[in-house]
Amino acid sequence: MKASGKYLFYSFILLITGFFLSFSYQLAKTEKTSNRISEEWKKEDSLRSQILDVQKTNKQLSNELKVIQQKVQDKEENVANEEKNSAGLVKELKQLRMIVGEVKVKGEGIEVTLSDSSYIPDGENPNNYIVHEEHIREVINELLVSGAEAVAVNGQRINHNSYISCIGPVVSVDGNQYPAPFVISAIGNKDTLEKSLNLYIANVLASEGIDVSISKKDEIRMEPLLAEKENEIEG
């Protein structure tokens, strides 16, 4: 009995020793693995944070890109608007040039021919039977008032600076001299122009002893003012 009780104590002591030994062995092993696991975890964590950083910078950059694209769009719109404006300006300029007489124009219109009276009664002053510059002016004014867009006398364009004066037997238009008959051409609505002339001026001219003939034309071409001035210089 005593011997076996002693052995029981020995076995108990050995049990405890064995327990300590294998427990610390197992603990060291798990610690190692847990260390490895924690290292892997750390690595993963750092990689994840790197990804987050990259995503953040990506987001920032895409925001910047958006802003820049918006700016580009604005600028493009501005450019487009400017182009539109300049196109409008060009068109307007063309029209203004047409009106001023710097470019060639063509269109429907009428031609008014004023010629001296073919018949002068005896004893009358022939001065009363020839075309004077004021007749030309009256016709031109009437035409302009009636909506003529371009007017020419004997093919020479009239603009706002033009002058028409009497130089004895001939009439000077901007320095170019023309004898009778005078052909005044005007571009505009041919019916309106004709009616407006027939309303009053034609009768007045006829009563003053001038032959007036009005003809409607489908197409009248007029040279620009500049070309004529060159001609003038040449002449």
Binding site: Y7, L8, Y10, I13, G18, F19, F20, S22, F23, S24
Partner: protein, 117 residues
């Protein structure tokens, strides 16, 4: 005779299968406990070979040494001094002494046996 061996095997298996996580602060205590247990075991073996073995001394020595070492390192932790190193040192020296004595006794026995032959 087989009962202590059986106890050792059971202890090893139990310790291996135990899945208790102890905080890292207490690993010092564990190492001291291991040392104390080994020291007592080898002390007992030496005493047995020298013929001065007493089971009461052995059993009380085992528990008392473990408790003393544990208490010393606990005190060290409380004071902020690595007192468990003293326990480790003492046990380590005694372990080596014991093993040296055991070696000499075994060798003497062996040579005596050869002479007798």
């Amino acid at each position: 005779m087989w009962l202590p061996v059986f106890g050792l095997i059971i202890g090893l298996v139990l310790g291996y299968l135990t899945d208790i996580r102890i905080p890292p602060d207490y690993t010092n205590y564990l190492s001291i406990a291991v040392l104390a247990a080994l020291d007592t075991l080898f002390g007992g073996m030496r005493a047995h070979l020298q013929g001065t073995f007493e089971d009461k001394v052995f059993i009380t020595g085992f528990f008392f040494n473990i408790l003393l070492a544990g208490g010393l390192s606990f005190l060290g932790v409380q004071l902020g001094i690595d007192l468990y190193l003293a326990a480790i040192f003492a046990f380590g020296v005694r372990l080596f002494n014991n093993i040296a004595v055991i070696r000499r006794l075994v060798m003497d026995k062996w040579t005596n046996a050869r002479k007798n032959q």
